[in-house]
Symmetry: C2
Subunit: 525 residues, 2 copies
């Protein structure tokens, strides 16, 4: 399978005409062929035109047709075989096992959404049948279903070249909801993007769907992404990446003539609270688990534990000492891109030079380019409370321990936290009261609260929330991982007295889809 | 019951210290006592402080406790008796029957939300139980529930002094979701607002809830509202009113350090499409129904039919002639405020002076102040397509008929419409194909599509959608009327491996609330 270095617009491969991007193998700093010339305003316009033309047909595909399409995308990705794995490894510097696992997650996610589509709960069908005899006024027949918002702009993330990229979570949930998707590929992995994009193209052709259901654009700067979000035919956006990138696109979405929902998942430092009894009883084991989580994927997870908050004392000192020792042994790992590596170096330098922060340990120094040397630092709660800059995310394997004088100070630090994707409690039975006292605050601050685990590792399931208050995300009402993500791309429409012949299948009185409707306020069994 | 003219902050009545507002009886232009001195930044701060202090307790009230509170609010509003009716009539110029009906709707709405709270579906409980034996990785226990967003800023609307005001839809759905509410009263009906606010205060005291669950602020300009939406303790907003007012507050919500959801319901001209067979068969009856809907409440409904779009010809001419004749007989009705009357006069003058618009009829001239003289105008589809200004809402009993050359031109006009709350089809069996061809476009444009009825009159029920694409609302994903409105003020939180003793009631394994959970992907029966 030869990479062509072209945009994929509907079923066509189109040569770009603006500044090219080219992937770099971060482990060698070698450029990888081919170059991908960027898209132009004309390409954005064509992709949006096709997406809009495909929208009405695609959003009304039957549950079975749409589910089969999602499954076909998964099969086509698997059919790429080792070509995909090799290219993704080369473009990301991530180990082969990780990329294979991520492929499994990506395809599993598509198949899980196929099940969700078939079950049809997302339609949220509500029927209030007419009450012609009601006094003082009769009630008309009212039926509600959810329909797709429209074409969605999806931005590939650097850190999950498969699971949060071209056929990643945002694409899967958009397609499941009935929305055509236009992906702006992340410039770090254009070859991986092309391969997956072609798999989606093939699935569309196999399923006889209109070509505009999917397009894939490349571009070196922000022009293509900005033009995409600004296009009036785009009705929502999904983004995973930096705070500055997410906020810039959010502003574009808000400042349109017609503002649209824009789901940006941005920054999170995922605080960990080791509570006193647990810290006392098993601080050493905890320290090792913490360092393992911190090092996962060179710390390039949205849920990387970048902050540890605990009461000072011998138990915390022992935790820090053990974590420091483990971290010193940590091998350096290749980061995703030279740019991410540079930002990491700057972030660590900023932390290390802070006059209230002391270094506990650094990991092994890298021997090949762009390798992340892990870092562990300590500061006081007072310093943390007095300097917002200490909450800035350092994307990579570095974490900061906050020493608090007592439980009240732990609570004050919790109160001051920005919004997070996750907050972790390490606790034993004797910590229940302390946990109970903290929980309401933690609920204000995070989308997921976890106990005696580590935040890295995000299950793709029904109950998962990968979201949270700003700046973790731009919209606290939703999740970007798990089946509830389908609701991000839907809106309710009510039909009043529409004749049964004209009703969509989901709303017909005979309930041909067998949905558990909310019928006259009662849930059908 | 004597009106005090004070802000209600928690359980206190507090004298304002900024420029006062005073209601005007629009039927006489007489000022109504007392004056309400406006709130200051300090008052906003106090109300927000109390709301935040009340939030954690209020959001964790049991389903029964919260439902009983909503019902107590309804009872306390009813206990105001005729005092409330008289004051609302005086402040709004609306007929007594209408205000009585609106009180019934307001209290019914609170009681319906009490039922919704008790049923607990809004918690959307999802449980993915642990799978310790799963390969290659075990699954942890994951449980999701929805919790309240936080204190909500609600803006009272002029046109429904009860149902969209202090204890109106936004307040009812916020309180149902577990959010404390701070209302910025509409300056047109401060006395009505005070009465209802005191009823809510009494319900809070009776139910032993923290006082910060509700506050009521007054203010003459935009300062109080702006300060309220900007306050970091406010986590969402609800607004019904003008496009300029809604957009200004939306910008405040978006430009905060932490942006928040802001639900503004703004402008809609609610197009009506009489399809050919129906127009031919019953154009005369249809014209009368149309004029009755247009005149309801002096045309001051969000769902007032401000646009009629049909194919030209004898049938449309007859419809227009009949509607014109009915409209000529329409009595003038008092509008809500002198300001709304002035804006109406300007809007009609703008339309009447348009060189492509011709007047068909005007209603009766008023004999008392601020009376709305109905108006019916006609223009061509070509003129409409060439001038966006012809889509501007004229708030009051004026409508514009668009004559189209053929069905294709009807479709082009539909394509060009802005987002709407409602779109109405008048159709007979022979119109099914025409309706089928239009429906996808109408679904893009409106939150509610109705057949052979009139858009005024919005049922408060489960299937209702009172929402729609921008500029009808600022957020197409929701409704402001009906039980689904509770979802506007909720966010998902996931708990991973939280011990059962610490889980909220809704998430305990034994399911003490008897919820129909999504358990391991299957809906419990």
């Amino acid at each position: 399978m030869t990479l062509e270095g072209k945009l994929l617009i509907g079923q066509q491969a189109v040569a770009g005409a603006s500044e090219p991007i080219q992937a770099i193998d971060p482990s060698t700093n070698q450029r990888l062929e081919p170059a991908y010339a960027g898209g132009t305003a004309h390409d954005v316009d064509r992709a949006c035109g096709l997406a809009w033309a495909a929208f009405d047909r695609y959003r009304e595909t039957s549950l079975e047709e749409r589910a089969t399409f999602l499954e076909t995308v998964a099969s086509e990705i698997e059919a790429l075989g080792d070509t995909l794995i090799q290219r993704a490894v080369a473009e990301s510097g991530l180990p082969r096992g990780r990329i294979e696992g991520e492929r499994g997650r990506t395809c599993g996610q598509l198949r899980l959404f196929a099940q969700v589509v078939r079950a049809g709960e997302w339609l949220d069908v509500r029927v209030d049948p007419a009450l012609p005899e009601r006094q003082p006024m009769p009630r008309v027949d009212l039926r509600q279903r959810h329909i797709a918002l429209g074409p969605v702009a999806v931005f590939g993330a650097s850190n999950f070249p498969l699971a949060f990229s071209v056929a990643g979570g945002d694409t899967a949930s958009s397609l499941a909801a009935g929305c055509p998707v236009i992906v702006k590929a992340h410039s770090a992995h254009p070859g991986t993007s092309e391969l997956v994009g072609r798999a989606i193209q093939r699935a569309i052709a196999q399923c006889n769907l209109p070509e505009g259901v999917f397009s894939l654009l490349f571009g070196s700067g922000r022009e293509v992404g900005t033009a995409l979000v600004a296009d009036p035919r785009i009705k929502a956006g999904g983004f995973t990446g930096s705070r500055s990138g997410g906020l810039a696109l959010l502003k574009v979405a808000q400042n349109r003539a017609e503002p649209i929902p824009f789901y940006a998942e941005m920054s999170s430092i995922n605080p960990v609270f080791p509570l006193p009894a647990a810290l006392e009883a098993r601080g050493e084991e905890m320290a090792k688990g913490f360092v393992a989580s911190l090092n996962l994927g060179a710390g390039q997870f949205c849920t990387n534990p970048g902050l540890v908050i605990a009461e000072q004392g011998a138990a915390l000192d022992a935790f820090v000492a053990t974590a420091g020792a483990a971290l010193k042994e940590s091998a350096a790992q290749t980061m995703l891109t030279p740019g991410i590596y540079d930002a990491y170096q700057q972030g660590v330098a900023r932390l290390a030079s802070h006059d209230q922060v002391r270094e506990i340990a650094r990991g092994q120094v890298g021997e090949t380019p762009n390798q992340c040397q892990a870092g562990l630092y300590v500061t006081s709660a007072e310093a943390f409370l007095n300097d917002e800059a200490l909450q800035e995310e350092v994307f990579g394997s570095t974490s900061l321990v906050i020493e608090c004088q007592d439980a009240a100070e732990v609570k004050r630090v919790a109160d001051r936290l920005e919004g997070q994707l996750t907050i972790t409690l390490q606790m034993d039975d004797a910590d229940h009261d302390a946990a109970r006292a903290l929980l309401p605050t933690l609920e204000h601050k995070a989308g997921r609260i976890l106990v005696n685990g580590w935040p890295t590792g995000v299950e793709v399931s029904h109950a998962m929330v990968h979201g949270g208050p700003f700046p973790a995300t731009s919209d606290v009402r939703s999740t970007s991982v798990g089946t509830a993500a389908i609701y991000r791309f839907l809106r309710p429409v009510c039909y009043q007295n529409l004749p049964d012949a004209l009703r969509p299948e989901a709303l017909k009185e005979a309930n041909p889809l067998g949905l558990k409707r909310l019928y006259d306020g009662r849930r059908e069994g």
